[in-house]
């Protein structure tokens, strides 16, 4: 794990780029560094969605389990990305599994704590949620493009 102070790690994360100066300090109050070995699950489908993971090292597969095929990988994300967005709306349950593909390090933010802190900082809260919305939009657009099956067979 990096020896950098948590707030420095947070401030250097791609997700934080452009957010107001105090955002790192607010998140740091609710955050802790975490390590996962290859194969560990960061979160599992059906579990309580109570954290957001800012990846600083390694890659994570977003999967859904099939009894026949096992874990079907839907997406892979790496340093600079975030994992865990199901806490933004009820029922606050993880919809997918997230599994470390290699040694992974994250800054894990406790969402209960974060909600309380953001309630006290409306300007930071607004900026934080704008960033989350942008992240969700990016993922939605990428998913829509994949739905097109662009490289599939096209009959003339």
């Amino acid at each position: 794990m990096s020896d950098q102070p948590l707030i420095a790690l947070l401030s250097g994360h791609q997700f934080m780029t452009g957010l107001p100066g105090g955002t790192g300090a607010v998140l740091a109050e609710c955050a802790r560094p975490q390590r996962f070995a290859a194969g560990d699950f960061l979160l599992r489908e059906g579990g309580t969605a109570d954290a957001i993971y800012l990846i600083t090292l390694g890659h994570v597969a977003i999967e859904i389990h099939s009894p026949i095929k096992g874990g079907i990988v839907i997406d892979k994300v790496g340093p600079g990305h975030v994992v865990g967005l199901s806490w933004v709306a009820p029922p606050y349950r993880w919809q997918f599994d997230a599994r470390a593909l290699e040694p992974v390090e994250t800054i894990t933010v406790d969402v209960g704590c974060l909600r309380e802190r953001l309630d006290l900082e409306p300007e930071i809260a607004a900026a934080f949620h704008r960033r989350l919305s942008a992240n969700l939009l990016e993922r939605l657009q990428a998913t829509r493009i994949r739905l097109l099956d662009l490289y599939g067979n096209v009959r003339d």
Binding site: A61, G70, I72, V73, I74, D75, K76, G78, G80, A142, I145, R146, L148, D149, L150, Y151, G152, N153, V154, R155, D156
Partner: protein, 291 residues
């Protein structure tokens, strides 16, 4: 036999119209994927072999079936035999894909504008982005660029998208280019067990490729939607839109700008393309709707 340079740039036998195909024999046939075949073609009359630039295309005839535009997929440095990588998507391409070694096909060309490698500064980073079968028209260009890199010139980044790991075109070439010093990234839409690469649209590879956007030239080929998103992604990263080149695909028929079937706005793609700049040309045309 005497030869002459055609308006489209190719060398053709005397008295041969650019609308008359030369006869080529299938010297080799390689199944790249379940529905993709590469044909190695040698002219029955050696003088019919025409020099070409990477990114140009030929009109191939499956006799008795029809004619179709297919990009040349080998390097101009080794032009004989000429290679065409063909996906079976219709009657003509199916007939071509099923053509056996020793059989003959018709060939007219080469036609159109190539990737223009000669105009790329030697020190430039070149980002090549291909989707699916779009790697075929770039293959010859990549081979040339990788040779340049080996000679000490600019870096080469090859980013390829495929439907799934078993649909990745030219895996041996990708590995060879990586070994030769190119940065190679592959993203698949659908993961399968054992796949170690990226998952998602090919744009996910852009942030992972450490090119310098201020001195980057990009070559894009693939589904037009993919090229739009990749081009915008490159521009967002700081690449000059004028330094992005895309290969357009339209209904090319005559190959020499006469019939108008491939018209796209002010362009006749067979003559003015298929390779055109993104900035100022394709960026506007991509947004035109067919009426």
């Amino acid at each position: 036999m005497a030869t002459s340079v055609t308006e489209a740039g190719g060398m053709r036998s005397a008295n041969q119209s650019p609308l008359t195909p030369a006869v080529y024999r299938v010297a080799g046939r390689r199944e790249e994927l379940a529905d993709v075949v590469t044909l190695s073609l040698k002219p029955v009359t050696p003088a019919d072999l025409a020099p070409f630039g990477p990114g140009q295309f030929n009109m191939l005839t499956a006799f008795g079936v029809g004619e179709v535009a297919i990009s040349i997929s080998n390097s101009p440095s080794s032009p004989d035999p000429v290679l065409h990588t063909i996906r079976d998507v219709g009657a003509v391409t199916r007939a071509l894909c099923r053509t056996e070694v020793g059989a003959v096909v018709g060939l007219r060309g080469p036609f159109g504008k190539d990737w223009g490698l000669g105009s790329i500064p030697l020190e430039a980073d070149v980002v090549v982005v291909a989707g699916g079968i779009g790697l075929a028209p770039l293959r010859g260009a990549i081979a040339e660029l990788v040779e340049r890199h080996r000679a000490g010139h600019g870096r080469v980044f090859v980013l390829a998208g495929a439907r799934s790991p078993d649909q990745i075109l030219f895996p041996d070439d990708l590995e060879a280019w990586r070994t030769a010093g190119a940065h190679v990234g592959v993203a698949v839409d659908v993961d399968t067990p054992g796949w170690q690469g990226s998952v998602g649209v090919v744009t996910v590879l852009l942030p992972l490729a450490p090119f310098d956007p201020t001195r980057t030239v990009a070559l894009l080929c693939g589904p037009e939607i993919m090229m739009r998103f990749v081009a915008r992604g490159l521009v967002d990263l700081g690449v000059d839109p004028g330094q992005i080149r895309v290969s357009l695909e339209r209904n090319m028929q005559c190959g020499i700008g006469l019939c108008g079937h491939c018209q796209l706005g002010p362009l006749l793609v067979c003559r003015d393309g298929p390779v055109v700049p993104f900035g100022g040309v394709a960026d506007r045309l991509f947004l035109e709707r067919n009426r």
